[in-house]
């Protein structure tokens, strides 16, 4: 019998490994974005000021390569751990995209437009999180490959046509912008400015999430954890939302 957390309690969501992964990835990406954008937009006064401040273009590239190496190792580690967990430990791959995610997307859109009464019923990771996860993971793989070609162009030209080097450059610079915008717009909104979590979604830093948020955002996972039918969690969610509605009504 599983331990049953009750209202007001918090639930462990991330292991220390995931917290470390987030910290390392966040740090490396900040460094990569700063040193990368300064090279991409090299004609801007601000870029030139930044490059000179750091100590020159060679230093910038050295830092960029070092941070890049960190991301490469981290990505490799992540894939290996995922492989180990799924294949050896037979763990449930929570990030896999299923047909349900597309249905959830539509459900949620219906909910946003007021066609549906309640938001989609999601599992451990909702479709937004899965989209971001896969965008970042594939992005980092693309960045790793193109980055390595740019870092070691003569080595790459040994087994690739020479044209692949400018292709890698185009890919690297465009994908970098994509990742940057994805994080700056989507991730920062969902983790900081979204009314659900404002001022900050702390779960990736503390590793814990409140049971209340589990009820709202991950009812399927909560039901599985507590060994109760999902309808019970959904009932709880409806009650809380009506409560909210009532409060809203009273306030008016």
């Amino acid at each position: 019998m599983k331990q049953q957390p009750r209202r007001g309690e918090s639930i462990r969501r991330f292991s220390p490994l995931r917290l470390t992964e987030h910290w390392v990835n966040a740090g490396a990406i900040v460094v990569l974005v700063l040193t990368g954008l300064a090279q991409k937009f090299h004609t801007l006064e601000a870029s030139q000021w930044f490059v000179l401040r750091v100590g020159g273009i060679d230093t910038i590239r050295l830092i960029h390569h070092a941070a890049g190496a960190v991301v490469i190792l981290l990505t490799l580690q992540h894939i290996l751990v995922a492989f180990f967990l799924v294949v050896v430990r037979k763990a449930q791959p929570g990030m896999l995209i299923s047909r349900k995610d597309f249905a959830d997307t539509l459900d949620n859109l219906r909910y946003y437009f007021g066609v549906r009464q309640s938001p989609a019923v999601c599992d451990r990771y909702d479709y937004k999180q899965k989209f971001e996860y896969w965008a970042i993971l594939t992005g980092q793989i693309l960045m790793t490959v193109s980055g390595l070609i740019l870092w070691f162009p003569t080595w790459a030209a040994r087994f690739l046509p020479g044209e692949f080097i400018p292709v890698a450059k185009a890919l690297h610079t465009n994908e970098a912008l994509l990742i940057f915008l994805l994080i700056a717009v989507w991730h920062i909104y969902n983790a900081i400015f979204s009314p659900d979590v404002f001022p900050l979604d702390t779960s990736i830093f503390t590793g814990r999430i409140s049971r209340e948020r589990m009820v709202h955002e991950h009812p399927l996972e909560l039901a599985r954890m507590e060994g109760i039918p999902v309808e019970e969690v959904l009932k709880e969610r409806r009650e809380e939302m009506h409560l909210l509605d009532a409060q809203g009504f009273l306030q008016h």
């Binding site: 090279q39 000179l52 080595w155 040994r158 080097i165 292709v167 465009n174 994908e175 994509l178 915008l181």
Partner: protein, 478 residues
């Protein structure tokens, strides 16, 4: 009272008039006046047939302004004293001039005239058989007071009196320095309005200082110093040049102003660009030969194309810096951009003006620009980065369109390997040869860029819409 005053006035006037008439009649016409009755009437026909026309005409005004205004004609022309007018015949004008020039020496003794150094040299020549002609410098009837010597005739005429003859001097080294110059050369030069002493300062009709030079080169170097009196801006620029640095190290073969521009025959610069290049050839003949075979040199020499660069366009004329320095190397894209980014010039030959832009936006150009900025910010200088000339060559620049692509690629690989020693055959293809990526030239790069250009805005707009919907739903729920 009134009447008496009037009468006295008339009387005085009458007396004065009578006295003046008497004086006029009593003073006989002076000897000189008599001569001028005929000789002051211009022009008198030649006195002899078959000889060059003599012009025994005397300009009254010039005579009156001359140092000899108080001198009577026969004081010089003694043969013509007391009414005599002997017939004179001369072989030619030169003989006549020599004869008349001797008249001066009747009064002006050797001792007197040798007081001026310039005369001493002339008298030496007289002993060698070349008779000096006083009137060549001083004029004859218009002979001027020495204190106003510069207006004798013209200063140039004055100096050329000696210096158009093959005068020379022997220097300390035993070398002979010719001091001769030609009026035609002077008149054809850019300096035809200048007087001799404008450049040869210290020399004048009065002053002819003795100069001592060891060698002819010493003299040339010292003389070129006078150019800076007017062309000071050019002079200060040469101080930064490699030629000046070499000269300063004691290499006297380093060129000075006159070596490129000439001295008395100084020509206008910029009129003929091929001429300018040939000036450099005097010392840099091997480079010139290479240049002459290049696309630029060939067009200049064989097609008289004035658009192509000559030496000074890349190396500059006065502040020529050492082309082997990193500073010069780093500036090469700018040098080439002077023409290759100019639509007006490139349009004539159907050449792209994007070559510099594509270089500067690629890896090497970006790095180079940062290195240049770093240098300005006094950070340590970077490594040399491949610039235009590293792939295209310098003096031997050839047209890529006319070269075999395989040869170009082979040469490019060798060039790549200078900085990327492990580069292999595929490596040079990494460079898009100054082309902007298009479907024809670099299709994959073009498609990658295109797909991101389409996908990125869609993604960002989609995400922002999601966010807005989310906020809207939240607001409605409240």
């Amino acid at each position: 009272m009134e009447r008496r005053k009037q009468w006295m006035g008339w009387l005085t006037t009458g007396l004065v008039l009578i006295l003046a008439a008497v004086a006029q009649a009593a003073t006989p016409m002076s000897e000189s006046e008599k001569c001028l009755v005929c000789h002051g009437r211009a022009p008198i026909e030649p006195t002899a047939v078959g000889v060059e026309p003599a012009a025994p005409y005397v300009d009254r005004t010039a005579l009156a302004a001359s140092a000899h205004s108080e001198t009577a004609c026969f004081e010089c022309h003694r043969d013509f004293a007391s009414g005599k007018h002997p017939r004179q015949r001369f072989r030619d004008a030169q003989q006549r001039k020599l004869r008349y020039a001797r008249l001066c020496r009747q009064c002006h003794s050797d001792a007197e005239i040798t007081l001026k150094p310039v005369h001493a040299r002339l008298l030496e020549q007289a002993q060698e058989g070349v008779a000096p002609v006083c009137t060549d410098c001083h004029g004859a009837h218009n002979v001027a007071p020495i204190s106003g010597g510069k207006i004798l005739q013209s200063e140039r005429r004055y100096c050329l009196g000696c210096h158009e003859h093959p005068v020379s001097t022997v220097l300390q080294s035993g070398e002979t320095l010719m001091l001769q110059t030609d009026l035609k050369v002077l008149d054809g030069s850019e300096h035809h309005m200048l007087s001799c002493s404008d450049c040869h300062f210290g020399f004048s009709a009065q002053e002819h200082p003795q100069r001592n030079f060891r060698t002819r080169r010493d003299y040339a170097i010292a003389s070129s110093d006078s150019c800076k009196r007017c062309h000071f801006d050019k002079h200060t620029r040469t101080l930064e040049s490699i030629h000046y640095a070499i000269l300063n190290q004691g290499n006297q073969l380093a060129p000075v102003c006159t070596d490129c521009h000439g001295a008395h025959g100084i020509a206008a610069v910029g009129k003929d660009r091929a001429f300018s290049a040939k000036r450099c050839k005097q010392c840099h003949s091997a480079v010139y030969e290479t240049y002459a075979r290049s696309i630029h040199g060939n067009a200049l020499i064989n097609e008289h194309n004035q658009d192509v660069p000559v030496c000074i366009d890349c190396h500059r004329a006065h502040d020529i810096v050492n082309p082997l320095t990193l500073e010069f190397h780093d500036g090469i894209p700018d040098t080439c951009a002077n023409c290759h980014s100019n639509k007006r010039i490139m349009g004539k030959y159907g050449l792209s003006t994007d070559v510099v832009k594509t270089y500067l936006s690629d890896f090497h150009g970006v790095t180079l620009n940062f290195y240049r900025k770093q240098k300005e910010a006094l950070l340590k200088p970077g490594r040399p980065i491949a610039v235009c000339t590293d792939c295209h060559g310098t003096h031997d620049i050839a047209s890529d369109a006319e070269s075999d692509p395989r040869v170009v690629k082979e040469r490019l690989l060798l060039r790549c390997q200078k900085c990327h020693p492990e580069a292999t055959e595929n490596f040079p293809d990494a460079w898009l040869s100054h082309y902007e990526p298009t479907l024809e030239k670099a299709p994959v790069v073009y498609l990658v860029n295109l797909s991101y250009r389409i996908f990125l805005p869609i993604m960002v707009v989609g995400l922002i819409l999601q966010i807005l919907l989310h906020i809207w739903r939240y607001a409605v729920n409240r």
